[in-house]
Amino acid sequence: MRYILPGSLIILSLLSSSYAKKNIASAKIKANNHISIKVPEPSDVAYDAETGHLFIVSDNGLLFECDINGKVLRRSPDKGMDFEGVEVKGDYLYVSDESPRRVYRYKKKTLRVENTYSVPYWGPRNSGFESITYNETKHCFILISEKNPVKIYEYNDDFQQVKEYSFNAAKDISSARWYKGQMYLLSDEDMCILRCDPNTYEVREKIKINILNPEGLAFDHDGNVVISADDLQRLYFFKSIPANNE
């Protein structure tokens, strides 16, 4: 009987770890370099193929346009509350304002808000939609609740919800990006990028990154990975990840 506790703990540990040991390919990548940026608490980053610039949003409800080296070029005069996600689509930028549950459509040229969409979510104020991207495979926007629980919501172009998916492969999701037919999800707490099926969001590969508080994910025109880190106020640059070569 004296072995009940340790025995039980071992069983618990095996049960606990079993979900993490599914047959998913894994890799690890290291950043080539990083830079500090003058964007306070950068929470997401998106790459604009047209200009080669980065759009970065801040927890303070600010939107910045930066060059590829992170130098601030412009700041939008339109302020929100708690910007957590940004996506570039055509002539527009779409920004997720987490606390008030809104998505703003900015005109890329003027950096002014042209439209506001309400995207209700009843979960924790600070665990709302931290990720926004356009899924070109399914021609829909997706917003992802950060955690407790992580859920993937698909929206049409007017941000009317069309479908939702449960997602249990990570503790949290802080950014999402569709790139070359793959859906990439970034987990802050698990410190990894998850390459997913863009139709089902099933995880195909897990790529570990060793970064404190990664919150934003983008791919430049060469497939190089850019990650923004909130607490350290940095951008990290990686070479293209193995999955991009598929």
């Binding site: 004296r2 039980s8 665990s127 709302g128 404190l212």
Partner: protein, 408 residues
């Protein structure tokens, strides 16, 4: 010691077995932890969250002790928290503990240290300095500041659990952050009665003197939240050091005394006289290991020689001056794959330097995260390594708490 081992073994068989079975069941059935609820209406945002926690407490009584009343199930927390925002600048919060309210209501007496109200304040964030007015937790001592649901043990321990200083009070707090939130500065003025303000009908003591407080903490390489566990496994070593100070001079007018119970169990929380309180704390975390250190020093000048803090010593001995304080060391390791947190804590406290005796405590903790630390089973075994038989005599040699905590 042998007696403890014997009792512990029996308890182990009777209680642990059932508890582990429940834990096994929970690990099989539990989905993601439920979460807070958020309501939005334009720029108005209201979040509702809460905490339910209960445990079974078992005392290893000393020979001769006959009262087993502390061997019981205890509803530690039943908290509801309403946290609101209006745009970017205004914030407010109301937090109530129904477990304390129920106890106070049934007994007909307000527990001065657990009045049931945890916070009620409004705050303005539109200036470089944040302004907060109301009743709230004081920005003093990293252990006290950390939310109870985020700590791996069931209690903070004597040094920072509110026995030596009040942890909440009514007043005005100013705060500001610098250097990407790595530096945080706090200053405030309060009634100085702490949680006892409600038992005193909302009035201050007869001196009417406030308490002043200041704190600064610096972290590196990034901001460091007040959490004791590194659940994430941060990839770079993170540090924080903090220093804080409090001062109150509550020398009573002739014929007045401080309100009954204002001094707390050890007459230290509020004194009739001058009180300086200094504290230093430090925290570290890296790859799921975390550690905390804290020390507190109380310099007291009671205005009357009859004050119990002098312990009946003559003025020539006490020089109108009393010291108290101590330090705490804690280490935690989060074993992610086993969803477990292991903790060891050591505290050394001297409640009065004029009265012989010092106490040392050892706490061992194990926490099983059903899915995260929001839904956790916690076990704490703690015992005095050295007992202060004069200032804090105990009826037990050790204590065990096993319980479940759910933060929604």
């Amino acid at each position: 010691m042998t007696f403890n081992v014997f009792i512990f073994s029996n308890l182990y068989l009777l209680t642990m077995n059932k508890f582990i079975r429940i834990a096994l069941l929970l690990s099989l059935i539990a989905g993601p932890a439920s979460a807070q609820f958020t309501f939005t209406a334009g720029d108005n945002i209201l979040e509702i969250s809460g905490l339910v926690a209960g445990y079974y407490n078992y005392r290893f009584l000393k020979p001769g002790e006959t009262s087993y009343k502390k061997d019981r199930f205890n509803l530690r927390d039943m908290k509801l928290d309403f946290e609101g925002r209006k745009g970017n600048n205004w914030a407010y919060e109301l937090k109530v503990d129904f477990a304390d309210l129920a106890t106070n209501s049934a007994s007909g007496v307000v527990d001065p240290e657990n009045p049931g109200l945890e916070c009620a304040y409004i705050a303005y964030n539109g200036l470089p300095v944040k302004i907060e007015l109301g009743y709230d937790k004081l920005p003093y001592s990293q252990s006290s500041i950390a939310d109870i649901y985020s700590i791996p043990l069931w209690s903070r321990g004597l040094l920072t659990d509110g026995s030596l200083f009040s942890r909440r009070d009514m007043g005005l707090t100013l705060s500001s952050s610098l250097w990407k939130q790595r530096i945080n500065i706090y200053g405030g003025v309060y009634t100085g009665l702490g949680e006892n303000i409600f038992a005193n009908g909302g009035d201050n003591d007869d001196s009417g003197a406030p308490e002043y407080l200041g704190r600064i903490d610096v972290s590196y390489p990034s901001r460091f939240r007040y959490k004791e566990i590194d659940e994430v496994g941060v990839p770079v070593p993170m540090f924080r050091v903090g220093a804080n100070v409090r001062y109150a001079n509550k020398t009573q007018p002739v014929g007045s005394t401080i309100p009954a119970s204002a001094g707390g169990e050890f007459n230290l929380k509020t004194i009739a006289g001058e009180k300086w309180l200094y504290g230093f704390d430090a925290a570290f975390q890296f790859r799921n290991f975390s550690a905390q250190f804290e020390m507190q020093q109380l310099n007291l000048r009671p205005s009357q020689q009859t004050d119990p803090l002098f312990g009946g010593t003559p003025e020539s001995t006490n020089k109108k001056f009393v010291k108290a304080g101590g330090y705490s060391l804690q280490g935690n390791y989060c074993l992610k794959m086993a969803r477990s947190v292991l903790t060891v804590q050591y505290q050394s406290v001297n409640l009065d330097d004029l009265i012989y005796g010092n106490e040392e405590w050892l706490s061992l903790g194990y926490a099983f995260m059903v899915n995260s630390f929001k839904n956790v089973i916690k076990i704490q075994y703690y015992k005095p390594l050295t007992e202060d038989t004069k200032s804090d005599p105990l009826k037990y040699t050790a204590q065990l708490r096993i319980g479940w905590q759910y933060h929604f």
